[in-house]
Amino acid sequence: MTGDTAPAYDVAIIGGGPAGLSAAVELKRLGVASVVVIEREREAGGIPRHCGHYPFGMREFSRVLRGPDYAARLVERALRVGVEIRTRVSVTSLKPGPQIDVSSPDGLATIRARRVLVATGVREKTRAARLIGGTKPSGVLSTGALQGLVYLDGLKPFSRPVILGTELVSFSALLTCRHAGIKPVAMIEPNARITAWRASRLLPGALGVPLMLGASITRIEGRAQVEAVEVADRSGRTSRIEADGVIVTGQFLPEASLLRDSHLAVDSMSGGPCVDQFFRLSDPAYFAAGNLLRPVETAGWCWAEGRAAARMIAGSLAGTLPEPTPRAGLALMGDALKYVVPQRLVAASGAPRTLQVRVRRPARGTLSVVVSGQNLWSQRIDALPERRILIPLDRLPIDLNGPVHIVFAEDKA
């Protein structure tokens, strides 16, 4: 008997969204023989499956697609090149080996693979995690839940909700409402500026939705269904908006609960796994890509990241990837900084990549990379939360003899 311990697959990919599917296709293209994608939903495709609006697919298919069509194409392409997609299989634990324990409709099973890519994506921060007060009526939904109900089931959970947040996903929620004939009564943003790119600022106006900046929801009212929300401005003055729903959008968090329960190291700053510049986790047989790495990027970005990670995994299988040690940790200095990904650098050439940095609040200042007291790179930034900041890693002559500091010197207000 060899079946008990021999890996059944070269690579097992957990999560069939854009990152997982693009990695699977790229692995096949690079000649990796057996690749399986493990997906817990009934269909692979990930979040775009229920984003029934444009624009998806420019980078991947050179055309503008709706989310569900984009997801279907990703799946179709993976199946065409011989990727095995196992749906309705939930991973319950990650173990050294690598070994993956799963639950399927038939019960428990174990999957062994030579390498594992974790691409479990993100979810929105809930009303509970934001400690929003008031009662707990029906009609308080995340964008994800709203889109599932509207696009997958044709339901209309409310008709006059407020939208909390102004990230890209908040505008996605707005479009979803329009699709379903739902008329939001306000868009509420705690910061003084809109979070998504300025162009989208036109959108709520164009759709006749008042935008309230510097305001937060302090209380949700209603017994069975939401009846109103109490909104406070920066001075603490409150007003009451009648609404029958609240869409709590964005503030994405990596869906990292599997990692937290495992032997793999998690970064408390990003909420995702600790990775090096080769997408490699603390157990070098495990890799990660897509929004699990950090909240949050577009589907196209995740798709590209999946493809890049696939090349590293292929290299790892071929024995050409640099050793995971020695490595240096990256340290953040400046309290506006929220995270940096990767969190670790291996002393190796190749792997042309970037460091991804984000801020936790709107901030202006100078961002630098400092190694052993020496400033290697600097740039002025005017940053908002949830917006991408990139440091080009390939141009940094990083000497890993000393700690690497990402320093953000904020302008004095």
Partner: protein
Amino acid sequence: MSRSHAQSGFDVAVVGAGVVGCAIARRFTLEGAKMIVLEKAPDILDGASKGNSGILHTGFDAPCGSLEQSCIASGYSEYLDIRERLGLPLIRSGALVLAWTEEEEARLPELMQQARDNGVGDVEALTSDEILRREPNLSRRVRAGFCVPREFIIDPWSAPHAYLLQALTNGAELRRECEVLAGQFDGSAWRLETSAGEIAATCVINAAGLYGDLVDQTLRGVSDFHIRPRKGQFVVYDKAAAGLVKSILLPVPSATTKGIVVCRTAFGNLLVGPTAEEQTARDEAVLVPETLAQLQERGTQIVPALSDIEVSAIYAGLRPATEFKDYQIRAHREINLITVGGIRSTGLSSALGIARHVFSQYLELGHAPHALTDPIWPTVAQISEAGERSWQTPCNDGVVCHCERVTRAEIEAALEGPLAPGSFAGLKRKTRVTMGRCQGFYCSAELARLTKDRLKHPMSGAPDDR
């Protein structure tokens, strides 16, 4: 009371299907009474019973000689006796009573003596080193404490579900959306006018919880107590937190409250709460962000590693406190009415004991039913982390709610049977769907599909109530 009369109606109508009403329905059914349970909400456990901390208390800190203490003691031992036959979980966590200040430390000997006086003789004093050896993730600021080895964690919903299910399986009836509006006692029996028609019963038991005084006023014209709803807010941490503490962590209690508890749940989460806030509203427990943040801070003071773990749920419950300290259980002999009021805070632990106590009062009223010789013992679905879950077994038909790992088979089973939910909130209490870290982000659409045309009150979105 003659059996012939009861044939035209019920022996006993219980008003209120909280944990106490469910336990009374079970006890009386097993003793041979023909029972009906009247609940005004679309689902059972919709009042005080939906927001407790899920602890099976020994009653070590209850007032000595109180009715509460004796009901907790007998309820506790009956739960241990029957739980396996009904499929109910038990997590043998034990509890630690912790002193964080000099004043609290000074009160420990007195509390330990009270425990021994209450028949909880196995309490044991612990130094801070001993406490930290047991609970290495606890803040090093802890001064001293004692352990109560037989305080356990249970599932606050499956227990009352099982009690009522056993009653129903053995012949009791349940009417939901059935509010008692008026009632006449004609000298031998009651005619209750309800929102769902007239119901005849020889005896009425008022177990209306937060509405106990109002139901007494409706039926007797007067109430011996006033309900003073006491709100308790909780924060619940995600699964990663449950591994941080083994024991139930109790503070030194004050005169009015047991204080803020840090405790694993039967479902593998960790809760911090409750607060104790008096209010007048009986039907609305408002969450206050500042208070929730304080609870989070308190949790982090006790278990510092909590600062790194996300809050997965927030909720508030109302306890039916009164102006009295003890339970208000009284038989009104002349009108065949037993009032079971003021069951504040300890009802989950004491319900089975209360049911026995109330049944003894019923016998004193002159009733003499014949106990069932061979009652049926149905089991409830096992949804706690204490035993094997559906997702771990074949034929589960796939996981739907990924955070709480609730399978399609579990949801389908919950939607059938005598206790099939009437609302989405009821389904949540039976299965835990959408109660995990994503609060319905992933599974709302699938749930809408599964419950379509199967709930009397369909989900309009993903209801966020508990």
